[in-house]
């Protein structure tokens, strides 16, 4: 199994979720994060003082899928999250050794 971690633009969340559901993803974990990357670093003024905004709000998706689904999931996120503007985000894939569904105790692929 693979754990797919993706940092995307917050307003793309709903679209990505729908796309993933349509290809059969049945679960994910979503976290609000502060993203740092090429997009970051513009400046704002507060009460007359300039300051750099180093972090931009992003949403992080964590999805565990069967190995054979991984590529498709990555592709789907890539396609739906893309705006071709800086800050679209990143996708990372890691190996997962084991998965368990708490309710039933099912393991690995059955647990997803």
């Amino acid at each position: 199994m693979k754990l797919i971690i993706a940092a995307i633009k917050p307003f793309k969340l709903e679209e990505v979720r729908e796309a993933l559901t349509s290809i059969g993803v049945r679960g994910m974990m979503v976290t609000e994060i502060k993203g740092f990357g090429s997009q970051s670093g513009h400046t704002e003024i507060y009460r007359g003082a300039e300051y750099a905004v180093n972090f931009v709000p992003k949403v992080k998706l964590e999805i565990v899928v069967k190995d054979d689904m991984a590529d498709q999931v990555v592709k789907t996120i890539e396609d739906t999250a893309k705006t071709e503007k800086i800050g679209d985000g990143k996708i990372f894939v890691l190996d997962v050794a084991q998965a368990v569904r708490v309710r039933t105790g099912e393991e690995n692929d059955d647990a997803l």
């Binding site: 502060k34 704002e44 003024i45 507060y46 009460r47 007359g48 003082a49 300039e50 300051y51």
Partner: protein, 444 residues
Amino acid sequence: MKLTKIITLAAVAAALPALALAQDGPTGPATDEVKWILTSLLFLIGGFLVFWMAAGFAMLEAGLVRSKNVTMQLIKNISLFSIAAIMYYLLGYNLMYPLGDWAIEFYFSGLFGSVGVLESVGVGYDAVDDAGYASTSSDYFFQLMFCATTASIVSGTLAERIKLWPFLIFTAVLTGFIYPLTASWQWGGGFLSEAGFSDFAGSTVVHACGGAAALAGAILLGSRIGKYDSAGRVVPMPGSNLALATLGTFILWLGWFGFNGGSQLAMGTVSDIADVGRIFANTNTAAAGGAVAALILSAVLYKKPDLTMVLNGALAGLVSITAEPLTPTLGSATLIGAVGGVIVVLTVPMLDKMKIDDVVGAIPVHFIAGFWGTMAVPLTNDGAAFGTQLLGFVSIVGATFVLSFVVFLILKLIMGIRVSEEAEIEGLDMAELGMEAYPDFTRS
């Protein structure tokens, strides 16, 4: 109009019986007792409106500090008001109003040390303290609120780093001694009123006084950790809840009608109520002028308009008109307020350059705009002179600054006035109080 007037005159000329003829009932001014009742009522209404300002300061400051220091700011605000109420009763009221009985002529009341006493229950008009004024209770209630205001001003500037207890001890001294003393020089019939200093509702006596105390504290306390980086650049520490800050500003604006309007000190005659009306209208338009000026100027200077500047601008407009809310026309009141708004936008960054860390901008709003308001009196009031105005400002602000500085210094030596570095970094709420203001929300 014309008709009524003639009849009225006729009626009066022929004394009472004729009244029977007057279409619209009896004529003439209010009786002495009705006047006394109405002026007392003015103080009670004005008083509860100024009380409400304590809530305004609490919300404004709670909104402008970071979320890790909100509980502390709230406990400081409700405690300082409560302490002010007690100290003003124990010492302040009689120190501020010597009623001609001076220990040091025109400088120090002889009544210092005696507690505030109200007229007896169900007092009759023949037994009241001042038949030409209003009930002592209503006057006391009204004046107390002004005293508390000075302390509220200080808490904002020193937020996020001063220890609770030293701050509250200072509050006790400020409200029980420093403010009443300096205020007595003007409103207690002291040397400044003798000199002809003119400060209708207290741009100097209340606001600059509070601002001077805040400045003394800010200097001794130093800036918040990380407020100015190694390169000396200002590091903004955005307020955690601008909705609260805006609410606080609206509350203060509302309370100010009582603050300035009540300071007419009379409502029993046509002239007096008409003047109170003028004061309400001028106070409102000055706040509007300050807000609009800050809105436009902040937009021009920083590309984007700054809400916190607009809030400060409205308050600066209010402080600016407080020294003379009666004589200006609506137009000049608007301009006087607008200058206050400009002052805030320009002096907030200036203070930062001087590394004076004023968390909520109380010094620009109350001290600097207070100075402007005081010096602006002669522009619309022939009774006032620039020299005297300057004398009044310097005397009160000078004395307040020195006394406050000494008190803070003593506190610093005895018990320390600043929280530990760990506490400041972790936030005063958890470190000092063990209680978060917004425990259910993830902090970013």
